[in-house]
């Protein structure tokens, strides 16, 4: 039985003796031979490897862009399946979550074991396994090799990052390693793309003989023994550690310096923030304009009537309110990708940890919370990096309090209408800027307070200690960032898009019913206005009338929708028809009411996309529901207080 891969011959070998011990208590048994199946072709391949082994880069390389992302049933573990690029029969590649070992202690590992043993519902048992290990840190990574190979599936061991390894003067005997492991081994570099043709040949080859050599792996009882075995393997394969580039340490000397570290951190954070706003906002607005204009161009092409109203006012508006988020999301993920791939993000989390800990959160929550200033949706998607489940949920729950960019249109409108343009601190700092800043501060404080409450009661910290791996500094590649953008963009569009469309349609239906003689009713007669009148008693103490009420109802889709809704309402009302929206509001709202409205928007959950993403990330409806109720209660109470206090003060 000989397997030839690139001239590498692996011959049957007997058990290697490592003195590892007690055969009566095996954690991983020695490998059994698979039953012979002469016509076995590989249809499904599992890709497994530790985190930071470059597995995702490899997955992206192998599948090009043909991937699908979902969730495994019952757990918040992401499922990625793709198709091998290239000619030939279809081969599915299942990218398993990054795991260090196959113990049953975490969701990720359980999912991996289930998939590999064919016990995962909806997934056939893989026909082969690609095991990706980072060759520059082989000792640690080998801990995964034994249990995976012991499962008995045809396995190809890929030693990734071979380019960095070789450049640093590292070397090892590939043939000896293959002998030790009883599986073919190949050196690859996912970033450079070398060695991948071997992978394809392994996957596509016609197998008319049983591939698995008869290697018996030692019985390894637990992790310390696995590590001892790994050490011995290291000696036997003449493993020569590569010399890591001294640049990584030097950069860390600067980035984690007592004084310069935090300063650089602030500069980087400030720069990201500035850019996402400075470029993201105008891009969003421009995009919005473009979409509206497209809608207007399309209008004459569709016969007037219900259909046109449905398509344009309902569907198109709904779609554009989703698409308008896209520039900021992409910009944000671009920067996160840059920071993460280069390795700086870990350092930033380290610097932020001390501060975050005083609130009860994790240092890794920093970037998600920062991103929430642009949009809570990608922020919540970015909380995946937090392994501690409770910290993660706490971060997800407080992210929407951060003043997202969707609040800005209504903030700007109300501030312009009700706050005079008086300077407060010299020319640069007027009353309006002051008001805007206080709103930002309000959101921030609400987030912190909520975090403190959550972490000291409902979500008290569980066992998993804070551990952060600092990868070596790398130069990010356009490809990896590009793929990440594509991936996150797709997830957002699919998740948020479906829910927003649904709610937009619902609002459209409510606005256009009941029909008066076959025509859509005036806004005052529509179903949604009735609802607005219905809730008016509830919102009167806040200083709002039924028109604002309608706006609140429609903005459940997304916050900025209220501006359009108010525009329509005041626009069609003959009394306010010729005024600007600002004027109309000044007539209809008191100062106290306006401030209350601002505060309401600062705290309320008015974003279907957010709820949709939270549902996806927590895999249940419980948390989005809790979030919605909690934030609505806080918003109502705060707006009530502001309105009452200010009204009595002004009298």
């Amino acid at each position: 039985m000989v397997l030839a891969i690139r001239g590498l011959a692996v011959t049957p070998i007997l058990a290697s003796d490592c003195g590892c011990a007690d055969p009566t208590e095996p954690l991983f048994s020695s490998r059994k031979k698979l039953p012979e199946d002469p016509n076995r072709i590989i249809r499904t391949v599992a890709l497994i490897g530790p985190p930071n082994s470059g597995k995702s880069t490899l997955f992206n390389r192998l599948t090009r862009l043909r991937q699908k992302v979902g969730n495994y049933p019952g757990v918040t573990v992401e499922q990625r399946v793709g198709l091998l690029a290239g000619k030939g029969p279809e081969i599915r590649i299942v990218d398993l979550p990054g795991v260090y070992s196959l113990t049953p202690y975490s969701d990720d590992e359980r999912v991996a074991v289930d998939v590999l043993t064919g016990q995962m519902e909806g997934q056939p048992r893989p026909d082969a396994v690609l095991l990706v290990l980072d060759v520059t840190h082989l000792s640690r990574q080998l801990l995964l090799a034994a249990p995976v190979i012991a499962l008995g599936l045809p396995t190809l061991v890929l030693l990734n990052m071979a380019d960095i390894f070789a450049k640093g003067g590292g070397s090892l005997d590939v043939l000896k390693l293959a002998t030790e492991l009883g599986a073919p081994v190949v050196m690859v570099s996912a970033t450079q793309g070398t060695g991948l043709e071997v992978v394809e040949r392994f996957l596509r080859q016609d197998r008319d003989h049983d591939q698995s050599p008869d290697a018996l792996l030692p019985v390894l009882r637990d992790l310390p023994q696995s590590r001892k075995w790994a050490s011995q393997v290291g000696r036997r394969i003449d493993y020569q550690q590569h010399v890591p580039s001294v640049w990584s340490r030097r950069l860390d000397d600067v980035f984690l310096h007592k004084i310069w570290g935090p300063l650089i951190f602030i500069v980087v954070v400030g720069a990201v923030f500035q850019t996402v706003f400075g470029i993201g906002q105008p891009l969003s607005t421009a995009f919005q304009d473009l979409l509206t204009r497209l809608g207007q161009h399309a209008a004459p092409l569709i016969p007037a009537g219900v259909l046109r109203s449905l398509l344009l006012d309902g569907l198109w508006k709904g779609v554009s309110s989703v698409l308008v988020f896209l520039p900021q999301i992409l910009l944000l993920f671009f920067f996160i990708g840059l920071l993460e791939d280069s390795g700086y993000l870990a350092r930033a989390a380290l610097i932020a940890d001390r501060t975050m800990r005083s609130v009860g959160l994790n240092g890794k929550a920093f970037i998600p919370l920062l991103s929430a200033y642009a949009c809570a949706v990608p922020a919540i998607m970015a909380t995946r990096t937090i392994e501690n489940k409770r910290d993660r949920i706490a971060t997800i729950l407080i992210a929407p309090f951060m003043t997202c960019s969707a609040r800005l249109p209504i903030y700007t409108l109300l501030i312009a209408a009700f706050i005079p343009n008086r300077p407060v601190l010299g020319v640069f700092f007027g009353a309006r800027a002051c008001a805007m800043l206080s709103l930002y501060l309000l959101g921030f404080l609400a987030a912190i307070a909520t975090a403190k409450i959550l972490k000291s009661s409902v979500l008290k910290s569980s066992a998993a200690p804070f551990v952060l791996e600092l990868p070596e500094f790398r130069c990010p590649t356009w490809q990896s960032i590009g793929l990440r953008l594509l991936d996150r963009g797709r997830v957002f569009l699919r998740q948020a898009g479906t829910y927003i469309l649904a709610v937009s349609l619902l609002v459209w239906v409510l606005t256009n019913l009941p029909l008066h003689a076959g025509h859509a009713p005036q806004i005052e007669q529509s179903a949604i206005a009735h609802l607005g009148h219905g809730i008016e008693p509830l919102i009167r103490p806040l200083g709002f009338n039924w028109k604002i009420g309608v706006g609140l109802l429609t903005s459940v889709i997304a916050r900025e929708v209220i501006v359009g809704t108010l525009g329509t309402i005041y626009g069609t009302d003959p009394a306010t028809h010729s005024m600007t929206l600002q004027h109309a509001l000044q007539q209809d709202l008191t100062f106290a009411g306006a401030m209350a409205l601002l505060v309401f928007f600062a705290f309320a959950m008015q974003c279907t996309s957010t709820l949709a993403i939270v549902r996806r990330e927590t895999n249940s409806w419980k948390w989005p529901a809790i979030q919605f109720v909690y934030m609505t209660v806080v918003a109502y109470t705060a707006a009530f207080a502001v309105n009452q206090v200010l009204s009595s003060l002004i009298k």
């Binding site: 840190h137 992790l223 001892k228 493993y239 860390d252 940890d353 020319v427 200690p465 804070f466 600092l470």
Partner: protein, 146 residues
């Protein structure tokens, strides 16, 4: 007038920042050449010291096992055991803090905590509240080095 003032201020700050970074990088002590490592007596790693009195043997044995937090920057050791409940223990072992692993203290975060350790060559940050329960023996070498 005010505008030019602001602009100059900002440019000045940026220049100062860049100069500071460059200066720090050039003058920073490298961990390897750090004088912080206390001079130690040579002793056998299995705890035995053939020709010494039992008193000093006892001293040496107790000196050998310390907490991860007791390592000075640049000092290395081998992980001996993790005195934490089983769940946290497994978690740490999976990340790489396995008994037998080679660990070296690299640096502290700017605010003192967490600290960065090189475990079998990989840099991992750990809070002091966790690191103090990881017991190590000073000085050991594995084929996978540092």
């Amino acid at each position: 007038m005010f505008h030019t003032f602001i602009v100059t201020l900002r440019q000045g700050a940026e220049a100062a920042l860049i100069a500071g970074i460059a200066l720090t990088y050039l003058t920073k002590d490298r961990p390897q050449s750090s004088k912080k490592i206390r001079p130690r007596r040579a002793h056998k790693l299995d705890g035995s010291a053939p020709d010494e009195a039992s008193e000093s043997v006892k001293l040496e044995i107790s000196e050998l096992r310390v907490a991860l937090t007791d390592l000075e920057i640049g000092e290395a050791g081998t992980i001996d055991q993790i005195s934490l409940p089983s769940g946290e223990q497994q978690f740490l072992m999976r990340i790489g803090f396995v008994p037998g692993a080679h660990v070296r203290s690299i640096r502290h975060a700017p605010l003192g905590d967490p600290s960065v350790y090189a475990v079998d060559g990989t840099e991992i940050a750990l809070r002091a509240e966790t690191a103090r329960y990881i017991k190590i023996r000073r000085g050991w070498f594995s084929p996978f080095g540092d």
